[in-house]
């Protein structure tokens, strides 16, 4: 293998003379690539300067971080395991109810935003913009807002997850409806079905598996969101996590993070299995 390489390298001058086109550097493209890289780097340097990055702080922090990590072994619940298990259950409940609520509320919005269901351009445009606005706000901001409305606790978390997912679901559902096959709908209309019947018997059966699969996928990602929503006081295990970090109980922090990782892995596995069962192997990405 390396004989060919050596031979080619030895005859480098001859190869260049015989195949000049291959060796000629495409100057324009190279200059463009170099300029793009340089501007990316320059912007990064400016950002680092503006955000007050400092090597001294960085190295001191790394040492500190190493110290924290050494304090994390062995992970321990510190005798509060039942509390943490209950908080984890609360987290799962938040994710489940939040996703379910969002899916139920987003279904009619998805119809409104789908071009082939509701013909009104104005309604279509308006619902799309509203959904975009909702999606632009992070779930933690929603949590803060809902804490002001219903008070501290997991209920605010449920509403926050539901609110932030309505935007995403509305968009995904409407896209699923728009991608649906028109023929079953036309068949129902041709048989004398009303618009509602056309949606129920022509549109829903073919889009339902896609919708369920997307809802399951969001349930997965919401379990992650629900673990952090407690940071601002909206219930779940995040509250304990932030408390233990604040009081520097690193062994408990490690325990809580491990608990979250295991739970997320189990939910991922379960939901992937379910999604495969619903829409069949080969159509699930990831």
């Amino acid at each position: 293998m390396s004989r060919l390489r050596d031979a080619a390298l030895a005859d480098r001058a001859g190869l260049t003379a015989r195949h000049p086109a291959v060796f000629a550097p495409p100057l324009g493209r190279r200059a463009l690539a170099a300029m793009a890289t340089a501007s990316l780097g320059a912007l990064a340097l400016y950002a680092a300067w503006r955000l007050e990055f400092s090597l001294a702080r960085f190295s001191a922090g790394i040492v500190e971080l190493g110290h924290f990590v050494s304090l994390m072994v062995p992970p321990s619940a510190g005798g509060r395991l039942p509390t943490y298990v209950k908080a984890l259950g609360e987290t799962l409940a938040i994710a489940f109810l939040g996703t379910l609520l969002a899916a139920l509320l987003a279904l009619p919005i998805g119809f409104l935003a789908a071009r082939n269901v509701v013909a009104s351009r104005i309604l279509h445009f308006a619902s799309r913009r509203v959904l975009d606005t909702i999606r632009g706000i992070d779930v933690l901001i929603w949590a803060l807002v809902f804490i002001n409305v219903v008070g501290l606790g997991p209920f605010a978390g449920i509403l926050a997850i539901a609110a932030s997912d309505i935007g995403a679901f509305g968009k995904l559902f409407s896209e699923a409806f728009e991608a649906a096959d028109r023929r079953p709908v036309e068949a129902v209309v041709a048989c004398g079905g009303s618009r509602l019947e056309a949606i129920r018997f022509g549109l829903l059966p073919q889009t339902f598996p896609v919708i369920v699969s997307q809802v399951l996928y969001f349930f997965e990602s919401n379990t992650r969101s629900a673990t952090i929503i407690g940071i601002v006081g909206a219930g779940g295990i995040g509250l304990h996590l932030v408390e233990q970090i604040r009081v520097l109980e690193w062994r408990t922090v490690a325990f809580l993070v491990l608990m979250i990782l295991v739970t997320v892995a189990i939910i991922d596995w379960l939901s992937t299995r379910l999604r495969l069962a619903i829409i069949g192997r080969g159509r699930v990405a990831g």
Partner: protein
């Protein structure tokens, strides 16, 4: 056009109808079962999540009243002054918004570089060593499963308040997410150039540089841009734990009930996110090329 439809005997028909009814009944039973299980799970989750419908109904009027509270008092007669009053702190907020954007940019760039360095080790078609592949994959998984704000909480304690821990936290999360996506792209490449470079005596690094990278670069860039969109959202809230950006001011405004400030900052964030979404969508379509637009 009249065609003769074969008519089955009544006994056969009865059998077929009974079979059809059985099938429908079985489906109905299954659907009912699923619905019952969902309801049971909801009730259970509702109990765990302290859902109290009466409190909710008693308090739901606060949502519209909250929205009314944060709506600024704009009068048509005095629009300019009202707007100036609403955005009294605009310079400061724009500064913070620029910080937020730069946090997202730096974290996306660092995360993309990290994901780029690790993705080749995590791809089954380039890395023969099972141990190396396993290690790379588990590391990426850890990076993307721990939420970035949890990293930020720990880093703020270790590095002190400021944007630096925020950037690092988002960067680590981005490394995990992009590393996985990048590895999937690499696993789907055309292997012929790889074989060509290998046959010509190329080393592993040369294979990656000349056979793999040219194929995957547009996809990588597109994924990195997509991640930048997500990171811009994350960067708006990373300040909640003291890790820089506009989040800190937003948190204060919400907690201290500075109503008009809340709507002012939220509107700025929404506009920023929308502009980023639209720009990156354009760039991504240009990068991937012939992908049809809806």
């Amino acid at each position: 056009m009249a065609t003769a439809v074969p008519r089955r005997s009544d006994a056969q028909l009865a059998q077929l109808i009974a079979g059809y009814r059985r099938a429908v009944a079985a489906r109905r039973r299954r659907t009912t079962l699923i619905v019952l299980v969902m309801i049971a799970a909801s009730v259970l989750a509702g109990a765990a999540g302290e859902v109290d419908v009466t409190t909710f109904i008693a308090n739901i009027h606060r949502l519209p009243s909250y929205l009314r509270d944060i709506t600024p008092a704009l009068t048509f007669a005095n629009l300019g002054a009202d707007l100036a009053d609403w955005y009294w702190n605009l310079g400061h907020w724009l500064n913070l918004l620029a910080d937020t954007l730069l946090i997202a940019y730096l974290a996306s760039l660092a995360g993309a570089v990290g994901g780029f360095l690790l993705c080749f080790a995590a791809s089954a078609n380039l890395t023969r060593s099972r141990i190396l592949r396993f290690a790379a994959r588990r590391f990426l998984e850890f990076c993307r499963t721990v939420p970035d704000i949890v990293f930020a909480l720990v880093f703020v304690v270790a590095f002190g308040l400021g944007a630096m821990p925020g950037v690092m936290a988002i960067a680590i999360h981005t490394t995990g997410a992009l590393g996985k996506l990048f590895a999937e792209v690499v696993e789907n490449i055309d292997m012929k150039p790889v074989e060509g470079v290998t046959a010509a005596g190329g080393t592993w690094a040369e294979v990656v540089r000349f056979a793999v990278v040219p194929q995957v670069l547009p996809n990588f860039a597109s994924y990195a841009l997509l991640r930048f969109e997500i990171n811009a959202r994350s960067a708006t809230v990373i300040g909640f734990v003291g890790a820089g950006g506009i989040g800190q001011d937003l948190l204060e405004a919400i907690r201290k009930f500075y109503y008009s400030d809340v709507s002012a900052i939220l509107l700025l964030i929404i506009v920023m996110v929308m502009i980023i979404d639209m720009t990156t969508e354009r760039v991504r379509h240009a990068l991937i090329g012939a992908e049809p637009r809806r």
